[in-house]
Each structure stands twice: as structure tokens, then as C-alpha cells.
Subunit: 139 residues, 2 copies
DNA sequence: TTGCGTGCAAAGGTTTTGCATGGCA
DNA sequence: TGCCATGCAAAACCTTTGCACGCAA
């Protein structure tokens, strides 16, 4: 019985892409931003290749994927398989800014909703929509 | 000084679209499903028109929009214009069920995030993703 | 009569697929 | 040497825009 599929060769493109994602730390990038990044560096990596590597990395849990309400998906390296499970994101509906929310209250929310409502929240995929500080002031 | 934009005429297309969304209750649909629905009924409504109505309904809070991880957006009617302002929604990533979460915790969350993080959460547009009771047990 | 609403076609943007070639094991 | 990986181009999707005509107010 073969384990089948995906020998997963180590290639320069694959290494560079992962390296770049790691270097970004907590930041999210879109496919297009990755393309631009390598274009600036004069490193040629086809966008198809980028899509395919992101797909693999995503499936194996190395990176996370967010579906923003408009436009394209965002990817982010998983620094430490545990840490990032525990924060949410706020997205401003006006300026579009994405804010990382590190806060103990959210732990409580997750526990509460699990215990009282039998629902296990996936913090990675959950995004709070609303209005950010700056936009509140400007209105 | 004009209030400008959008007289919001009442048109047959607009009525039919809203009526259809209402008839679906809690269920959500994609734009494509709406197009198909009217096509089957031999009712001609251009997809552009559907997009424009959904946009308006979404902006005025009459319907909710979800960004699914793959593919296109989903829309759902907000059953009761007041009630749903005051609670969050949980959406199961596995079976797709949408759960209305009535819980005092919500108030706390909103207040906390506003006071400590200067962000005003829009409960209407915020959806918690995760796994529901039933699907937890089945796995 | 005014100007928003509608449909069609085309454009825009993101992601996927087909195929010949290149490169890792 | 056998296959997977890569790049390019094209296709496939989803959504938005431009424009002429229709229709509600």
C-alpha cells in the first residue's frame, strides 16, 4: 500500500516562499503581494507556483488562510503551532485595516461558548467587523 | 444641500429578490443560486441586478453576507431587524448550520473591545466560525 | 419629465488548469 | 531515469463597470 501523492521535493522556489512567509512574522500577505515581493528582488517565481506552494503549506497546517470579505485571500505563517490559535482579528469596515487582538477576554469567550453553548470557536477564521479608532474619530 | 443618492424605487425585481431571500428563512444562498432560482421560474432578472440589490440590502442590514473560504459570497436574510442586532452568530464550518447566540457575554465583549481596544464591533456583520455540537460528536 | 433601475456585454481581478520543459532524487 | 515541479498562457470564476433603454415617482 503506497502512501501515495506528493513526493514533496525540496526546491529553491519552495524554500524561498516559505522563507519569505516566515520573515513576515505575524503579518498577512496576499498572493499578489508575494508576487510583487519576488519581482522586486528580481527573483522569478511564477504565480502558479506560488499558489501551489501556498496550497500545500495550508493543507499541512504550516500557514493559515483568511478569507477577507472582499477581494483575495490572505496567508500567514504559523509561528508556533499553539500561540496563534488564541487571537482574533478585527477588521475595520471603513478603512479595511486588519488588527490583531491579543486579549485574555477572548480565551474566556471561547471557553464560555464551548461550555455553555457546545460550540468550538475557530479563532483563526473568525473576524470581528466594526469600526476602528481612527475611523471613529474621523466620522 | 441634497441628501443625494438612491431614491430606492420599489421595483418588481427588488421585491422578488427580497421575497425569495425571506422565503429561505435561515438558509443562505450564493448569487449563482439566486440566478438559477429565477431562471427556473422563467423570471428574467439579470445577475447585475441581483448583485446591486444584494449590495443595497447588505448595506442597510437587511441581509447578512458571509465570505466562504472558497468561491463566492453567501447571503442570508435577517429575520428580525431588531433582535439580530443584539446577538452574534455562530456558523459551523462542517455542516453549515447557523446558530443564533443569545448571551449576555456579547455585551461584555462589545464594551470591553470598545473601551480597551477602541474598536466598535458590528455584531450584525460578525460571525464566529467553528464546529457545532453535533459535528463535534460525529468526529 | 427626471433620473434611478435594468440588462447586456465587456472589463477586472483572482484562482485554476493544460502542457511542454526543467530539475530533484 | 522517472516523476514531480515549474512557467507560461489560457481558461474558469466571481464581481464590477459602461451604456442605452425602461420604468417608477
Amino acid at each position: 500500500m503506497k502512501t501515495r501523492r506528493s513526493a514533496n521535493y525540496s526546491t529553491q522556489q519552495g524554500r524561498l516562499i516559505l522563507e519569505y512567509l516566515v520573515s513576515l512574522g505575524d503579518k498577512h500577505v496576499t498572493v499578489n503581494q508575494i508576487v510583487q515581493h519576488f519581482r522586486k528582488q528580481k527573483i522569478l517565481i511564477g504565480q502558479t507556483t506560488i499558489y501551489r506552494h501556498l496550497e500545500k503549506l495550508y493543507n499541512s497546517g504550516v500557514i493559515r488562510r483568511y478569507a477577507l470579505n472582499e477581494g483575495s485571500a490572505c496567508y500567514q505563517y504559523v509561528r508556533d503551532n499553539k500561540v496563534c490559535q488564541e487571537h482574533f482579528h478585527l477588521k475595520c469596515e471603513i478603512c479595511g485595516e486588519l488588527i490583531h487582538l491579543e486579549c485574555d477576554l477572548l480565551d474566556e469567550i471561547q471557553k464560555h461558548v464551548y461550555k455553555k453553548h457546545s460550540f468550538r470557536i475557530n479563532a483563526l477564521k473568525t473576524v470581528f467587523y466594526g469600526t476602528c479608532d481612527r475611523c471613529l474619530k474621523n466620522n
